[in-house]
């Protein structure tokens, strides 16, 4: 994931102005500060690009941003909806971040999430209606995580055994899973002409939080728990040390006896499981059934969450809340600017943060 400055890129010349200017102020960047600086610069650049898009749409950017902010804050149901989106995004963002920490770019979170949604709903429907929550909830959670992990493991194995680029296999699997989901929906799950399946067992339902009648639900606990576990593994365990070593310097990790392939497969299993768990938010927490297109886009936006959160679990939570808020803000201004504008912003964030990473590194090197 690193942009190497040399072997023979451009001939070394004087740094451009945008690098020299911050250098003149001697901003001290190190560790956490560097990551925060990267996220902030990326975010500011995204806002600037978003403003240009609003100008293209013929609207005053200041007014649109303000309408997003005030419209969302003043409406409890939109705030709750932001929390609902953020719950799913935190899990897919964590999935992408975990893989990226180990040097793998898992854009397959979308497919892993869909697999989780389908299997979670299938298992939830198959459970007898009288199943107590103490059994039904864990069973459905495990089913969702396992489905995501299965898809993730395919990507990991193909990377480790065949050297197939994970972005390409992820993308193929996304398409395959979404087609299979539609097939299963049409043949097995959808009920008489609708695009909704049978309801899951009542015991597997997670209650809504009741924020302004929004979809925010108790699966937020699942997300918080997942964040805590990944944080602990990443910062305090030898596993975390190993996967980050593989991400930062695979050759060094290999020299010290780490099996790169094994780590890659395990990390992809974990990443897929996290993305699959996001199904809890959509199936168990909100719709209580399989629905065509449920949770769609959460996997791709998870890429933006992971990059903006700088792969740190806490950063991921902040980024998830931010992008969840943005999605609600998009609803708040839907009669002012086309909704496609807001849908472009996660992609813009990814681009801007990717461009900010080497920029900050060069400032730091000064």
């Amino acid at each position: 994931m690193t942009a190497r400055p040399a072997p023979g890129g451009a001939a070394p010349g004087p740094d451009p102005l945008w690098v020299r200017l911050p250098q003149a102020f001697r901003i001290p960047f190190s560790g956490m500060r560097r990551e925060i600086a990267t996220a902030v610069i990326g975010l500011l650049a995204s806002i600037a690009i978003g403003s240009v898009l609003m100008l293209i749409a013929g609207k005053a950017p200041g007014q649109v941003w303000w309408a997003m902010l005030s419209g969302t804050v003043s409406d409890p149901s939109l705030l709750g909806q932001a929390l609902y989106k953020a719950t799913g995004l935190a899990l897919t963002g964590l999935a992408v971040a975990l893989a990226l920490d180990a040097g793998l770019f898992n854009i397959g979170a979308e497919g892993q999430l869909t697999a989780g949604v389908v299997v979670c709903a299938l298992v939830g429907t198959a459970l007898p209606a009288a199943t107590p929550a103490a059994i039904a909830v864990p069973v459905c959670l495990i089913a969702a995580a396992a489905a995501g992990a299965l898809i993730g493991s395919v990507i990991g194995v193909m990377k480790a055994a065949r050297g197939a680029h994970e972005v390409i296999t992820s993308f193929m699997l996304n398409a395959i899973v979404s087609g299979l989901a539609l097939f299963l929906g049409n043949r097995v799950m959808f009920r008489n002409g609708t695009t909704t399946g049978a309801p899951i067992a009542p015991g597997a339902e997670l209650p809504h939080l009741g924020i302004g009648g929004s979809s925010a639900n108790a699966s937020i606990l699942v997300a918080v728990l997942a964040v805590a576990v990944v944080w602990w593994l990443r910062a305090r365990s030898t596993w975390g040390r190993t996967w980050r070593a593989v991400g930062q310097s695979p050759d060094a990790a290999r020299t010290t006896g780490t099996s790169i392939g094994k780590v890659q497969v395990l990390v992809m299993i974990g990443s897929g499981a996290l993305a699959g768990l996001a199904a809890a938010n959509f199936v168990m927490g909100n719709k209580h059934a399989f629905e065509e297109g449920l949770g769609r886009g959460t996997g791709f936006t998870g890429v933006a969450v992971a990059l903006l959160g700088r792969m740190h679990p806490v950063g991921v939570v902040i980024a998830a809340l931010l992008l969840g808020f943005l999605s609600s803000g998009g609803v708040a201004v839907s009669d002012v600017v086309p909704k496609e504008l807001v849908e472009m912003l996660p992609g813009v964030v990814v681009l801007a943060v990717a461009a900010a990473v080497p920029l900050v590194r060069r400032m730091e090197a000064a």
Binding site: M158, I168, M172, I176, F183, L307, E340, M344
Partner: protein, 290 residues
């Protein structure tokens, strides 16, 4: 079954394979050129999609398919310029840029549809080349590019510098040339090819539909990798993909019962299986490193 066979062994089927192959082939050649210079080209999908949109939009406004093609090529070049700018000037991670541009393309083309035509998913009609093969300039462009590119890469100064930038950038610096300039040139030519491929998508049917590239860019890139980054072989691989796609369409008009949702997955499953079996050749030595 006989119905299927008579469909397959007809001139119309061959023409259909060619028509389907053109976007894949142009995108693959664009990807091969860009990657040979050392720039990872995951943004092929974005170039196809923006190319298709621009071709339909310009074609609709000017009522000329040829100008539409020019618009598609320009859009491909524009996306490539953004991509190369982020990669070669800002040194951003090339894989991430590609993904970001693809995500932006999906929403961005629909945004432009909304802004320009107040439409949600379909552009207003534009002139179409339709089923014609021999009178379609994009087909000829693909044929000519297939013939000329391998020669250009091997024999011209442009091709030599391009390959040097991808394999031995230090050698290029030693002779006083700039790898960055060579990569920029390669990326822009690659973008033009992919943009033309996108133009075929919309100009063949006379209009743009949201997401009409349907991951052809990714499949084209896989073909580039399988072909060992050699453009002519990549085109050959794309003809194979196109034949498979035409066959799956032929399947649907026969009475052999295969669920339509699953037939549509054929290209992805095939690509995945091929990736499982074939181990890629060595990529250009400095691919992805700036």
């Amino acid at each position: 079954m006989t119905q299927l066979l008579t469909t397959v062994f007809s001139l119309a089927f061959v023409a259909q394979v060619l028509r389907i192959a053109v976007p894949y082939a142009l995108a693959a050649m664009g990807g091969a050129v860009t990657e040979r210079s050392g720039v990872i080209d995951l943004a092929l999908e974005a170039k196809l999609l923006f190319g298709a949109f621009a071709a339909a939009a310009v074609g609709h406004v000017t009522d000329s398919a040829l100008l539409g093609l020019a618009g598609g090529i320009a859009a491909g070049v524009a996306v490539a310029a953004i991509q190369a700018g982020c990669a070669l000037v800002l040194y951003a991670d090339q894989v991430i840029i590609g993904i970001a541009l693809n995500v932006i393309a999906t929403a961005g083309t629909r945004f432009l549809l909304q802004i320009l035509f107040h439409e949600g998913a379909n552009s207003p009609p534009c002139p179409a080349y339709g089923d014609a093969v021999l009178t379609n300039p994009i087909v000829w462009l693909a044929v000519i590019a297939t013939a000329v590119l391998p020669f250009a890469l091997r024999r011209t100064r442009w091709g030599l510098r391009l390959r040097a930038a991808g394999d031995r950038p230090d050698a290029l610096i030693a002779v006083g040339a700039s790898p960055r300039r060579a990569r920029f040139a390669a990326a822009l030519v690659g973008g033009a090819l992919a943009g033309a491929g996108g133009a075929q998508l919309s100009l063949a049917v006379g209009g743009f539909t949201a997401d009409m590239s349907s991951s052809r860019g990714y499949i084209a890139l896989v073909m580039v990798i399988l072909a060992g980054w050699r453009p002519a072989r990549a085109v050959l691989a794309c003809l194979g993909v196109a034949a498979a796609e035409a066959l799956s369409i032929a399947f649907q008009i026969t009475d052999i019962a295969v669920p339509s949702e699953l037939v549509g997955l054929l290209p992805y499953v095939t690509t995945l299986v091929v990736l499982m079996i074939v181990v890629a050749r060595r990529p250009p030595a400095s691919l992805g490193r700036v």
